[in-house]
């Protein structure tokens, strides 16, 4: 039994003492040592860390796809054990996450049908979100007829149409080319500000994390702890050219870069990291 945790009511997603040990064949592997953080309603928080830092494990625990070994994840105060209502996930592997036997529109519509929305509302949401991601004229295509970037747009539209309270994104742009990635980053920012949804965005790309996030959670290497919760003071309006050229962006980039490098060397706290800048 976990004791009830008294939370600030504005906390949308609360993670307390999260620990995850994989006990498969062979030695048990501790992926996450101890993680605690809170995300307020309407925040856009990015999670970065060195590769193998348990980022995907964390996201799967948040999504209720993977049971935690200890500690808990709470969505609006409710403990998450199975995938909760009000959460949608965008996976990195769009090609495997979309169903190839359904058209783009059917892919977006299926979760809405499962949610029990009436037909008229479903059609409306499908049209609106596909237009919002710039795919208003691809509704009758099949995912495999589209480019990678377009397929990931479909997955984003599917998640957005679901109208979740929390949108989880697991390295969604790792497999798309650099130019497409900039467009998709701006798409995420605009959907976020328009829908008022809480977003947790996992990435290995430091620049992407700073450009997108209001906060960046920097993770240590395995077994994972939180190295630092970095506030990003870049304002609400961001542009690929100007924001990335500001001194604040450069400062944050240097700072997070140093933290991630230190994490690779095994640093487990900011004081361990011996930052030089």
């Amino acid at each position: 039994m976990t004791s009830p945790v008294v939370e600030n009511p504005s906390v949308m997603l609360g993670v307390h003492g999260l620990n995850k040990v994989y006990t498969g064949r062979g030695e048990p592997v501790e992926a996450i040592a101890d993680l605690s953080f809170e995300i307020s309603a309407g925040e856009l928080v990015c999670v970065v860390g060195p590769s193998g830092a348990g980022k995907t494990t964390l996201l799967r625990c948040l999504a209720g796809l993977l049971p935690a070994t200890a500690g808990d994840v709470r969505l609006a105060g409710q403990a998450v054990s199975d995938p909760p209502t009000g959460m949608a996930v965008v996976f990195q592997e769009y090609g495997r996450s979309l169903f190839p036997w359904l058209t783009v529109a059917q892919n977006v519509e299926l979760p809405l049908r499962e949610k029990g929305l009436p037909k008229a509302r479903r059609k409306e949401l499908v049209r609106e979100t596909l237009e919002a991601v710039g795919l208003g004229d691809a509704t009758a295509s099949y995912p495999w007829q589209l480019s990678g970037g377009m397929q990931q747009r479909v997955a984003i539209a599917r998640a957005a149409a679901y109208e979740p309270q929390v949108l989880l994104m697991d390295e969604p742009f790792a497999a798309v080319d650099a130019q497409t990635r900039f467009d998709l980053e701006d798409l995420v920012r605009s959907l976020w500000s328009r829908l008022g949804v809480t977003v947790v965005f996992v990435t290995h790309d430091i620049d992407e994390a700073i450009y997108l996030g209001e906060r960046v959670l920097v993770l240590s290497g395995r077994p994972t702890v939180l190295l630092e919760d970095v506030r990003v003071g870049l304002g609400d309006d961001r542009s690929q050219l100007e924001t990335r050229a500001t001194p604040e962006f450069t400062r944050l980039r240097t700072h997070v870069y140093e933290l991630v490098q230190a994490a690779k060397r095994g640093a487990r706290s900011v004081t361990d990291a011996h930052l030089t800048h």
Partner: protein
């Protein structure tokens, strides 16, 4: 420097196929005529063709053809439904899968024809006798393919379905079944051929009504060319069955990488 690639004259596949058949028929004509084999036991193509034409004009061939097809279709349908339902069930419930695996591996290699005495005891020389053999032989083809297909559901697609809280029925309908369908179609194709073989075998050995029994009657009465003519009919039935299954496959699996071919993206 590499040589320029010269366009080579391509012979269409159907021309090659037709040439192959004609060559085979010509050899079959020449071998008995040259005396290499006794023409009484292997009559030349021309005699078989004449016997076939004569049989096609008569009524009993068509009746038998209808009986064979009926047995085949019923047997295949039973195997298909049972194989798909049990395959999805066993495939999705790990406990059931492990509990049935060794039994399946034990029963599957039992040759269907070894069940002929049992079939005759149970059903005599009625169609059900042959049906038992047909179902026993073709069911495993479907079951094993569907089991493999259900096991092939993509983990990311599965996580997607779980994260959107799809119910069990929705998962079966929109994820498990489409994933297993290419396997099921392969199973159907294999089962269709096996079912036809066992239909004719049952008719021939047990004497249940159909083409197989006509072959047996023709053999016993020494009508050798007619016997071969009936074998040809059975063979053509097999070709038709395979073509039908392939046509169904390309329609049902339009989205599958093996069918959809190259796409722009």
């Amino acid at each position: 420097m590499s040589r320029p690639i010269r366009p080579r004259a391509q012979v269409p596949a159907w021309v090659l196929g037709a040439a192959g058949i004609l060559t085979f028929l010509a050899v079959l004509e020449a071998v008995p005529r040259s005396g290499l084999v006794d023409a009484r036991f292997l009559p030349p193509t021309s005699q078989i063709t004449a016997a076939l034409a004569e049989r096609l004009r008569g009524g009993d061939l068509w009746v038998a053809l209808g009986q064979t097809l009926t047995t085949w279709v019923i047997g295949l349908a039973i195997s298909l439904v049972a194989g798909v339902v049990l395959g999805v069930l066993f495939g999705m419930v790990p406990v059931l899968r492990r509990a049935t695996a060794s039994t399946i591996e034990f029963l599957r290699p039992v040759p269907s024809v070894a069940l002929i005495p049992v079939a005759v005891l149970l059903y005599g020389t009625t169609m059900q006798s042959t049906l038992l053999l047909v179902v026993y032989a073709s069911f495993w083809q479907v079951l094993l393919q569907v089991l493999a297909g259900v096991g092939d559901v993509d983990p990311v697609a599965n996580d997607t379905a779980r994260s959107f809280r799809f119910s069990l029925m929705t998962r079966v309908r929109t994820l498990v079944w489409p994933t297993a369908l290419p396997y099921a179609v392969t199973g159907l194709r294999l089962a269709a051929s096996v079912a036809l073989i066992l239909t004719v075998t049952g008719e021939l050995l047990i004497g249940t009504p159909g083409i197989g029994r006509l072959i047996g009657v023709a053999r016993e009465s020494g009508a050798v060319p007619a016997m071969y003519a009936l074998v040809v009919v059975a063979g053509m039935l097999g070709v038709a069955v395979n073509l039908l299954a392939r046509a169904f496959e390309s329609r049902a699996l339009f989205w599958h990488p093996s069918v959809r071919g190259e796409v722009a993206a």
